[in-house]
Amino acid sequence: MSEQLVSQLVNGLLIGCMYSLIAIGLTLIWGVMNIVNFAHADFLMIGMFTSFWLYTLYAVDPLYSIPVCAVLLFLLGWVIYKFIVSKVMTGPGLAQVVVTFGVSIFLANLAVWLWTPDFRMIQRPLLHGTWDFGAVQLSVPKTVASIGSVLFSAGLFLFLRMTKTGKAILAVEMNRTSALLMGINTEKVNALSFAIGTSLVGVAGAFLSMYYYIYPQVGGTFGLLSFCVVALGGFGSIEGAFIAGILIGIVQTLGGYFFDPAYKYAIVFAVYLVTVWIRPQGLLGW
């Protein structure tokens, strides 16, 4: 019984790392632009499909399509920002909330139109099987994906702290007006952070495509969960999103284990509601 519990905990940790990577891109966009990107998980879906088609058509393993996804989603994010999102930045609050909903519906149904709503899977990725540690059995792709997620999250963290561009992004996140007065090109920072956010979620998509079903509506669940992760972690806080991602992963698997698996997402949402009730600014927000 306790062995099962340990393996549930480990599974929660693994899926939690995935949530973290998805959510830090979202929290970056949210923090810098004060926009909730409802299309975030649809970029995840595009990343998964990119990896799927590279595998199916050109026999490129998902592991090697990570850089392709990163670059492609970076460009897509940049274009979406330039032509759609940047237009609402000065507009009314409601337009800022709704615009990415439109992007989300558009992308998800573009995928339905192009590739049908079928569920697909990458049949034989390079990484497969399990590692056996006696008590716990680790699925190889899940473990690699989670380690990769942690590395990419750490990479973003270092980028923001160590480079000049990263510091500019953080400055805009803290105070847009002051940053503008200091000579930071905030428009460029916006575009860059949006593109970095989508690029990271594209990477997450490539990782996820190694072991998860690929279908146009895959964004639905992941999107809702990543909002909870971001809000739980706190407005625009990268560290907060990282910790909250792992927490949500563990809550989800333990909730499914102790109660009913059918209710595992309901438990996650309830945890979110209770958290914002007690701490409206999230765990690490200010």
Binding site: A95, G102, N109, L224, A266
Partner: protein, 321 residues
């Protein structure tokens, strides 16, 4: 109390006459169905507008109230043989109670956190209904077929009575919305929208009026839910508790112009025919192209015409002056 301008009264009368005359002039099931959907979503948009447009509480969870309304009247009818008209009120009351129960603890949650909290709430409700044996879980409920008539809120041979019922319900919600907007509550809500702190400083009970707005909105949305159940005669969590319905409430309001009384009606009158017609023409094969156009439309409107149609009209009016 602010008086209506003559042209506004003329517009109201013209709209009323046109909508009353519509089914007498245009025959056919499909146009009537489209108009019923227009009124249904206009009504939900009006409800959304009371909390979203006036008080800037952007809810993406109104579908929970819609579902509660639909399920309450249906369960009362099936299990306890309660008349759907009583179910209509009961559903509204239950939804308002649920709104108060969820809205009160959430009253210090603002902006994006509020939006996401509403999604979380609606998702919890959906998951609960999807697994709840008492309401047949994911199988859904088929309403018992009763003899047709106004008393049973059920008509089989024609859609026209449904048309007039939803028109009356829409008119009722518009009156409520108008009443709120010209009385003290409307000013309070707009003050809260402009600045929480200032409104608080002026002595407006921020928690109480936000709660009133949410409860009224929930009541109206639940009535729309009951109507939907009586109209379609079949409900399941996948048709009355899904996120796209919430999104639709937001969109009709935004397209028409949030914070104005007529905004949601105009928005619904534009959006619903487009979505119904593209669904019938292009969506029959499940290609997704209808929803694609829909998504593109939302993107473009919010990026390039964010004040909505009503905002556009009034801005023309100001320019010519």
């Amino acid at each position: 109390m602010k008086k209506l301008a003559p042209w506004q009264i003329a517009l109201c009368v013209a709209a009323l006459v046109a909508s009353v005359a519509f089914p007498l002039v245009v025959k056919g099931t499909f146009p009537n169905h489209v108009m019923i959907m227009v009124f249904l979503f206009a009504m939900m948009g009006v409800a959304w507008n009371i909390m979203g447009g006036y008080a800037a509480m952007f809810s993406f969870g109104n579908v929970a109230f819609f579902g509660i309304g639909a399920y309450t009247s249906t369960v009362l009818l099936m299990n306890y043989n309660v008349n759907p008209w009583i179910g209509l009120v009961a559903g509204g009351l239950l939804a308002a109670a649920a709104a108060a129960a969820i809205g009160y603890p959430c009253s210090n949650i603002r902006s994006h956190y509020f939006s996401i909290a509403t999604i979380a709430f609606a998702e919890i409700v959906r998951i609960q209904f999807n697994n709840w044996k008492f309401v047949a879980a994911a199988e859904g409920l088929s309403l018992p077929i009763l003899p047709e008539g106004f008393r049973n809120f059920m008509f089989h041979s024609t859609k026209i009575p449904y048309y007039y019922i939803i028109l009356a319900l829409l008119a009722l919600s518009l009156v409520v919305c108008w009443y709120i907007s010209v009385t003290r509550m409307g000013y309070y809500l707009r003050a809260i929208k402009e600045s929480h702190e200032l409104a608080k400083g002026m002595g407006i009970s921020f928690v109480r009026y936000r709660l009133y707005a949410i409860m009224i909105s929930a009541f109206i949305t639940a009535m729309a839910g009951t109507f939907y159940a009586q109209y379609i005669l079949y409900i399941d969590p996948e048709s009355v508790l899904i996120l796209p319905i919430s999104v639709q409430c937001v969109l009709v309001t935004m397209l028409g112009g949030a914070g104005s009384i007529w905004g949601p009606v105009i928005g619904a009158a534009i959006l619903l025919p487009i979505s119904e017609v593209t669904r019938v023409w292009l969506g029959a094969k499940g290609t997704g192209i209808d929803m694609m156009i829909y998504g593109a439309l939302i993107m473009l409107i919010s990026a390039y015409q964010p004040q909505g149609v009503w905002g556009y009209i009034t801005s023309i009016g100001r320019r010519t002056k």
